[in-house]
């Protein structure tokens, strides 16, 4: 039995504990962060290749066999999400050294960050509904702390909003888990898939599925539940904003995909209309909100809402092409949006504000920043040769292939709005005349490098779209044959 599968959880967890103990030793902390950050990335990549070559992995924690023990499962979807998470986390981590100046802040930030990372990875790897809940909570708890860490008024208020939301969601999640346990007598997802299949017409099953949509939709900021996201994502310290928009809202999407491609496979058609409608409304409302913003971080946050709509649309097609496109979208949007958020953080560092009217003339102050921001803008706008073009291209093509014309039309309208608000913000920040007040300082190179690397990744995703989409295609095919997953888990009995 390979322990590779638990490494993405154990390494960050151990790192977090070591970092807690090394509070008084900044140099030691830096070394630990560097080594373990890179080793998580390596472990994730090795895991992904191993899954790609050998099929789905499973791991029984504590040696109790499924469906009784806690089971960890790694399929291609989890592998992809893990690698994405580690790429974004690494950039956010390296950015945080330049962003958080005070040692005390770093001493608090980094352990929490690794706890969050462990929770995220755990959520991607777990094969058990209740463990998913636990991992969500580990992740959320760290986010709560990270969000209010700097103690700004805005952050406290957003934190209050987020925790109230989180507690309520947890209660809902627990109720749903209780319901499904009462119905099927198990919480192991593979086992559930088997036990639910004969009873799929039972009204309770659809009710529970709906509850899961609600719970995960709240976390993913799907339309009626999007209210908390703009406040939280814009108030959080910038590296955390990047993490939130880049990877953490995708955990919700991941859970929706997992649940609907494994447990409620037969309800896909039943919920398709609902998910697609919600996806369309989500992208439209998000874009509408983004157009109205004057604050760059809020704008990006609303844009995240809108992009989640795109991803849900791809999921809602429930075709291999759509799912593959949605996964590609998750990857590229993660990279793009985190680079944009980190860029917005540079602005905040320069002038202490993220209002667009407080900035200007970046083209003369820092051509590098202008270029990086521009790459982010064209990527999110879906212009070639960036990865953003191929994410939209595949998504739209999947929609047309499946004859979902209305979502496609909405997607196009929204992508025009996206281009509009993104370019407007770019022009305001980079091209308009110098702002009032102190002359602009040059942004520090320490902050620019991680953002630059992410921006390069946006372009690489465009040029290397072929291997990436091959991977997402394989992952989507795997998702649509759930028996592989079930066999991998239950076969080990």
């Amino acid at each position: 039995m390979t322990h590779l599968l638990v490494l993405p959880i154990l390494i960050p967890l151990g790192t977090a504990i070591v970092l807690l103990l090394l509070r008084a030793n900044p140099m030691g902390r830096r070394i630990v962060i560097g080594i373990s950050g890179l080793s998580i990335l390596v472990a994730d990549i090795v895991l992904l290749t191993s899954i790609y070559q050998k099929g789905i992995h499973s791991y029984q924690v504590g040696g109790w066999s499924a469906p009784f023990g806690i089971v960890m499962v790694g399929d291609l979807l989890s592998g992809i999400m893990l690698v994405l998470a580690s790429v974004i986390s690494l950039s956010a981590l390296s950015y945080s050294f330049g962003y958080l100046k005070k040692e005390a802040q770093q001493a608090l930030f980094h352990p929490l960050f690794f706890f969050m990372w462990a929770g995220t990875n755990g959520a991607f790897l777990t094969g058990d509904i209740f463990n998913l809940f636990v991992m969500f909570e580990v992740m959320l708890m760290s986010i709560y702390a990270l969000l209010v860490m700097l103690g700004e008024k805005k952050q406290i208020e957003a934190g209050f909003k987020l925790i109230s939301m989180g507690l309520f969601t947890s209660a809902l999640f627990l109720a749903a888990a209780g319901g499904i346990y009462a119905f099927a007598g198990t919480l192991n997802m593979a086992d559930l898939a088997l036990k639910i299949k004969p009873h799929v017409d039972h009204p309770l099953v659809s009710a529970i599925a709906m509850m899961f949509i609600g719970v995960f939709g709240l976390k993913a900021a799907m339309m009626p539940f999007h209210f908390w996201l703009p406040d939280v994502h814009s108030a959080a310290p910038t590296p955390i904003s990047a993490m939130l928009s880049g990877i953490l809202i995708k955990v919700g999407v991941y859970a929706i995909i997992r649940v609907f491609c494994l447990i409620f496979v037969d309800l896909q058609g039943y919920f398709q209309g609902f998910i697609l409608t919600m996806a369309c409304i989500t992208m439209f409302v998000g874009a509408l909100g983004a157009v109205a913003q004057t604050d760059i971080k809020r704008l990006l946050a609303y844009s995240s809402v809108s992009q989640i709509g795109y991803i849900l649309m791809g999921v809602g097609f429930f075709t291999v092409g759509g799912m593959s496109a949605a996964l590609f979208y998750i990857i590229s949007h993660g990279v793009i949006k985190s680079s944009l958020f980190l860029a917005a953080g540079i602005l905040k560092k320069m002038r202490g504000s993220t209002e667009m009217s407080d900035h200007g003339d970046m083209i003369n102050t820092s051509p590098a920043f202008t270029t990086i921001f521009f790459i982010g803008v064209i990527s999110l706008g879906g212009i070639p040769p960036s990865g953003g073009f191929f994410m939209k291209f595949q998504l739209i093509k999947a929609g047309l292939d499946g004859a979902f014309y209305i979502p496609v039309i909405v997607a196009f309208m929204v992508s025009l709005m996206t281009l509009f608000y993104l370019f407007r913000s770019w022009q305001k920040i980079c091209l308009s005349g110098p702002p009032q007040g102190n002359p602009l300082a040059r942004p520090s190179v320490k902050l620019l490098i991680p953002v630059g690397i992410l921006a390069m990744l946006c372009l690489v995703l465009g040029l290397a779209a072929s291997p990436v989409s091959g991977l997402t295609q394989a992952a989507a095919e795997q998702l649509f044959s759930p028996e592989l997953y079930i066999r991998a888990v239950m076969g080990a009995m």
Binding site: I383, P384, I396, L419
Partner: protein, 508 residues
Amino acid sequence: MDIESIRPLLVLLVSLAGAVLILIFRKDPNTREGCSLTAAVLKCLLVVSMVPAVLSGKAYSYTLLTFLPGVSLSLRVDALGLIFALTASILWILNTFYSIGYMRAHHEPKQTRFYTCFALTLSATMGVAFSANLVTMYLFYEILTFVTYPLVAHNQTKVAYGGANKYFFYLLGTSTAFLLPAIILTYSLSGNGDFNPAGILPPGANPLLLMFIFFLFLFGIGKAAVMPVHAWLPSAMVAPTPVSALLHAVAVVNTGVFCVLRVIFHVFGVDLMGTLNLGVFVAGLASFTILTASCIALTRDNLKERLAFSTISQLSYIVLGGALLSSSGMAGGVLHIANHAFAKITLFFCAGAIYVATDKTKISQLDGIGRRMPWTMTAFSIGTLTMIGVPLSGGFVSKWYLAMGSIEAEMGVILLVLFSSTLLNAAYFVPIIYKAFFNAPPEEEGSHDLPHGLAYAAAGDKDGGGSSLHTQEASYFIVVPLMVTAMISLILGMFPDILLGLVRQVTG
């Protein structure tokens, strides 16, 4: 028939490398401009070196990488692309010379950015010209929009940004909202997007859907400035003259009409266009654009604006040529890409020269200018001859073919359009020439013996051009390119066979 060769890629890379070198030598203007010129000449030679093989019916192709299954970044040089590439690469050399004269005479800031973007623009243009499939075309089409944006906004004033933003949003908006759906629909219907003389869309598909796709293409290619989406072109006039020349003659609008021709010839194919009756629609729209834009041009006093509307009208000749779907009409359209480019760049060069030497931008101020700037105004006259379509000029040849084509296509109405537009063209160009040569210069200006305007003084001091006090020509860097383009424009009219060989490859 296809020759696997890296040559098309080299053509793209030459100007890209040029751009990098320009950035490296930003501290030393002479070396920087040297790089620019070297890249231009090299690129032109590379393009010319591909002519013989293409003339003999072969095509160069090169696949760089595959994005998705069925979607690759691949280049293919066929006759249509080569005509466009030839025009653009020859004009780049001349335009570089001209820019050196113009930019130095004006002491423009940010010249490095200017030359870098210029070189990148040429790379993107070649990319469009040599693209082998729709996605590659779209990619370079968008890159072209991006790299020309800093050029249009070169002055970095509010007005410049206003114009540039309009330019940008028109082109980007149309391409995202219409062109991209059209491309994806094409892929969705046919499974691939490789250009093919027989058309790539399945003829059996729903005709309404096919027509819808076609109009998405037509309006999505905003760079072709077909009438409802033409407004960006006049507003991009805020740019310095070399940039206007680039937009109007070398890269942008040519890219637009080129893409339209590509779509008509190689995406839909002549047969499908015929069965869908799309030719008639497009011809009607093009005719409307020709006449309306000419009428608007009559009302403009600003020289560059009048030229801009003239461009809108002339571009629709090319679209019209494609829409006629007869071999002569298509030949006329393709020929007009080159003819219009050489003539229009002459006109813009002249407008810039007048501005550099005398600071004048309005037509009403041009009384007697022909006596002070005889070379410039002679070239201007030659340019207008092509625009009007007087025999022995290039414009005549293309109009001749267009007329033949409309007869072949049994659309006699088009003849009427051609005649009336010729009259309109004459009506807005001849008065300028008349004013320039036959009106007496205004009194106050005639009494001045000294050079008028700071710009001239600067140009004279720096480059030693325009040494005579009576003729106030701009510097040689400016005058020589415009004479050369005027000459080429004449030569194309007198010896149309130079291009006709390639054109026959296109029309088959």
